[in-house]
């Protein structure tokens, strides 16, 4: 998935209007709540074949960390 598409996907998933960038810390995004990370896992499964471990998503600090999980 391209970087741009990933950002769009994440913004849509979280329904955030904050200016999300790859360096953005997830902890700073109000909408990255307990539901977001399971919703991320569920939706990303449509685009990625291999299984992403929930612990890896939980321990992601920045948006780029999330992106690196799927690429």
């Amino acid at each position: 998935m391209t970087e741009r598409k990933f950002l769009e996907f994440l913004i849509e998933l979280m329904d955030t209007d904050s200016n999300l960038q790859f360096e953005t810390k997830l902890a700073d995004v109000e909408e990255w709540d307990s539901l977001s990370y399971v919703a991320f896992l569920a939706s990303i499964a449509k685009f990625v074949e291999r299984r992403i471990e929930p612990e890896k998503v939980k321990s992601a600090v920045t948006v780029r960390d999330l992106y690196n999980l799927i690429n």
Partner: protein
């Protein structure tokens, strides 16, 4: 109308799904009468046009079949509406179909249609509509359940299942959307005169219509007996109510003496 209560929804915008008939239609009319801009969504464009003619400045229409609509279909209607009137203050989902479903002579297609219209159609609507770009924070959503969610009528297993699913899923949804101060509640009407109940009289011979009506201690319901509660739930007088079901049934669920 109601004697002691007058609603003022001027400068407010709402979407009503299933507005071409029955309770949905009355809700759309009452909202427009109270000054709101209303996007009415249903399959039947003709019936929606009649609604539009009552309040041409206030009621906008959008034809969509909740069973077939894609995410893009929903969003196109919302983009168009929001583009004209600004963000919305809530939405009402009233679409539902009835039908007999029993173990004997089970028709899977009918059963799926019943559940898809009441439950999945509602989810399709909400998952596309409850977004920052369409609704302001603190919006209120009302969806339709039924007294059928509380009792299993003979021959009504799919309808009861669908409506029970609606009331319980409302609680999950309430937990999800409260982060934006949104509220969602369901409403469970008893027997109200509408296309749905009219068709059910014709096709249903599993229980006595007279007996069922007699249990409605305050008489048969009209759409206006129910729409008042919906408008209340949409209002800030209900600002501390979320994740619950309001039974509006003329005393039906009280059962026999």
């Amino acid at each position: 109308m109601w004697k002691e209560v007058t609603f003022d929804y001027s400068q407010h915008n709402y979407v009503v799904v299933g507005a071409s008939s029955g309770m949905g239609r009355d809700i759309a009319l009452k909202l427009a009468d109270a000054g709101a801009n209303v996007l009415t969504i249903a399959r039947n464009k003709e019936r929606l046009s009649e609604l539009h003619d009552y309040y041409p400045e206030k009621i906008m229409i959008g034809a969509l079949d909740v069973l077939k609509a894609s995410n893009e279909d929903w969003r196109k209607l919302f983009d168009n509406f929001i583009g004209k009137v600004g963000k919305c203050h809530g939405g009402v989902y009233t679409a539902g179909v009835g039908g007999i479903s029993s173990l004997r002579g089970f028709d899977a297609e009918v059963a799926h249609k019943i559940i898809d219209t009441s439950l999945y159609g509602m989810i399709g609507f909400l998952s596309n509509f409850v977004k920052k770009k369409y609704v302001i924070s603190g919006s209120s959503f009302v969806v339709f359940s039924s007294v059928a969610a509380y009792e299993g009528q003979k021959g009504g297993m799919a309808y009861s299942a669908a409506k029970a699913a609606v009331t319980i899923s409302v609680k999950s949804i309430a937990k999800e959307i409260c982060r934006d101060k949104h509220r969602i509640n369901s409403i469970s009407p008893g027997w109200v005169e509408s296309d749905l109940t009219h068709n059910s009289i014709i096709k249903n011979s599993t229980c006595s219509y007279e007996n069922m009506l007699a249990l409605h201690r305050l008489g048969k319901g009209t759409p206006e007996d129910v729409s008042g509660t919906v408008l209340f739930l949409l209002s800030d007088a209900a600002r501390w109510i979320t994740g619950t079901d309001v039974i509006v049934d003329g005393g039906y669920l009280l059962g026999i003496d």
